[in-house]
């Protein structure tokens, strides 16, 4: 939407730096989800502990983003789409930090899974994680590009994630009914699936912020799906 550079070059520099910082947070969160899933599949407890400890870095990045947005508003007095972008960056930083927390939660559950025995739905979860990571990745791309259409497309992918969650939920329920010994590990996996599903919801929230920042309009809420179908 910006047809010219800002008359004050330092302003564009600040805004660019803020975008880069949000991207860094996003990459961090994506990598954390992927690493948490690897730890889960490979039962890598040591790496999982490290991942939990590393989350504090994401908190620090969020604090830095907050500081920069406050500074940008105070010193540069951004207007119109620049102002909306600064506000969006502030909110997105908070949501990405939350996404990092979900990755941390997944890592925490690694030690609850039995070491040797294979738990079947585990093979479905990395696929689900791939969709969630893809959504986070693309929605932050959309933010940097100020691309409302790309943001909208991310929202549409949330349905696939919800479908995944439903199907994993049913499968795990069957396992638990079949054999009470499965209840422990199945519950753990159910939490992981729920965490991934929540990551998708947060990516959708970011998409709405990106859409608003880029267009000044609110993205229409998607029509509720017919649950009976």
């Amino acid at each position: 939407m910006q047809s010219h550079g800002h008359t004050l070059k330092a302003f564009d520099q600040d805004l660019g730096d803020l975008r880069a910082l949000i991207m860094t947070m996003g990459s961090f969160a994506e990598a954390a989800i992927e690493e948490a899933m690897r730890c889960l599949v490979e039962r890598d407890e040591a790496a999982a502990v490290q991942l939990v400890e590393a989350d504090v870095q994401l908190d620090e990045l969020e604090a830095e983003a907050e500081r920069r947005v406050v500074e940008l508003i105070a010193l540069r007095a951004p207007m119109a789409d620049d102002l909306r972008e600064a506000i969006a960056a502030l909110k997105i930083a908070g949501v990405v930090e939350r996404i990092g927390d979900y990755a941390k939660n997944i890592a925490r559950r690694v030690r609850r899974l039995p070491k040797k025995r294979h738990v079947e739905p585990l093979s479905l979860l990395p696929e689900m994680a791939k969709i969630a990571v893809g959504m986070v990745h693309d929605v932050l791309d959309a933010f940097v590009e100020r691309n409302p259409e790309k943001a909208k497309a991310v929202c549409q992918r949330d349905d696939a994630l919800d479908d995944f969650y439903e199907s994993i939920f049913r499968t795990l329920l069957t396992y638990m009914v079949e054999n009470p010994q499965n209840i422990g590990p199945s519950t753990t996996l159910l939490f992981v699936a729920k965490n991934l599903e929540r990551i998708g919801d947060h990516a959708t929230n970011i998409a709405e912020m990106v859409y608003f920042a880029a267009t000044g309009e609110r993205l229409a809420e998607p029509q509720p799906r017919d649950e009976g179908a």
């Binding site: 910006q2 047809s3 010219h4 800002h6 008359t7 302003f11 951004p78 207007m79």
Partner: protein, 267 residues
């Protein structure tokens, strides 16, 4: 309805305010050069309307046209209509004296007369109305109070107006304008020569005055436009590019040229 949402609806109602000044198809020429072109603008009553735009966009020309100050210069000419209270004030049959009474103007630099503070305010009053001495004093006090200057000058009304600070002089000029009880006040960059505290005082004053007057302010300072006005008009090269609620103009302008200007990405 929830309070917050109710307030949002009230803000939206400003756009529905009746027009106090209805500018229709206004053109303005300095000799053969057009400074305004086909401007249509409905300035709402009892609200502050800010006019913004780069130098030479026609914003000051618009103010000069509304109170016909341009008539002082032989080669300047306006076309179109400016309707106030149902009458076209550009019509030469419309008395200039009546127009100036209805439309007051304050300029960029304070322009006090080289006389006492009291006489500065009383001057126009004496011109328009024959008032008994006591009432004249009341009206002077009232104007100085409304322009938030009274407390600072009440003990030295017979001191020279030139002894006041720049900010005080500007408020004195506003008092002089208010004294004749106009309906419309035109402010042409009223704070560009003032320090931040004087500026804040004048902005607060503008905010208070909008209840009783219709105010049009030309300003180069966009933050000021955002702070004091309810509606904002953006001009460029003599044309009105966009006119809307101030909050909309500064958060979500509809026209790219407006967006470029207010975000500082012009040219």
């Amino acid at each position: 309805m929830i309070d917050v949402l109710e307030r949002r609806a009230e803000e939206a109602a400003v756009s529905a305010l009746p027009a106090k000044i209805d500018v229709r198809g206004l053109g303005f020429f300095y000799g053969k050069t057009a400074a305004l072109n086909g401007v249509d603008l409905a300035v709402p009553e009892h609200a502050v309307t800010a006019i913004i735009g780069p130098s030479g966009c026609g914003k000051s020309t618009l103010l000069r046209t509304i109170n016909r100050i341009y008539e002082l210069y032989p080669d300047q000419r306006a076309a179109g209509e400016i309707i106030i209270e149902g009458r076209d004030v550009l019509d030469s049959r419309y008395s200039l004296s009546a127009l100036r009474r209805c439309v007051g103007m304050v300029f960029q630099k304070p322009t006090p007369f080289a006389t006492t503070i009291r006489k500065n305010v009383a001057f126009a009053l004496a011109y328009y109305e024959r008032l008994p001495k006591a009432e004249l004093a009341d009206r002077v006090e009232d104007a100085l109070r409304r322009s938030a200057l009274w407390d600072e000058v009440k003990d030295k009304l017979d001191a020279s107006a030139l002894s006041l600070s720049g900010g005080q002089q500007q408020r004195l000029c506003i008092a002089r304008t208010l004294a004749v009880r106009p309906e419309i006040i035109l402010l042409d960059e009223p704070t560009s020569a003032l320090d931040p505290i004087s500026t804040a005082k004048i902005e607060e004053l503008i905010h208070e005055l909008r209840e009783q007057f219709t105010i049009v302010i030309v300003t180069h300072n966009m933050q000021q436009a955002a702070r004091v006005s309810q509606r904002t008009a953006f001009f460029h090269l003599g044309e009105l590019i966009e006119f809307g609620d101030t909050s909309q103009i500064f958060t979500n302008p509809r026209v790219q040229r407006t967006q470029d200007y207010i975000t500082g990405r012009f040219g």
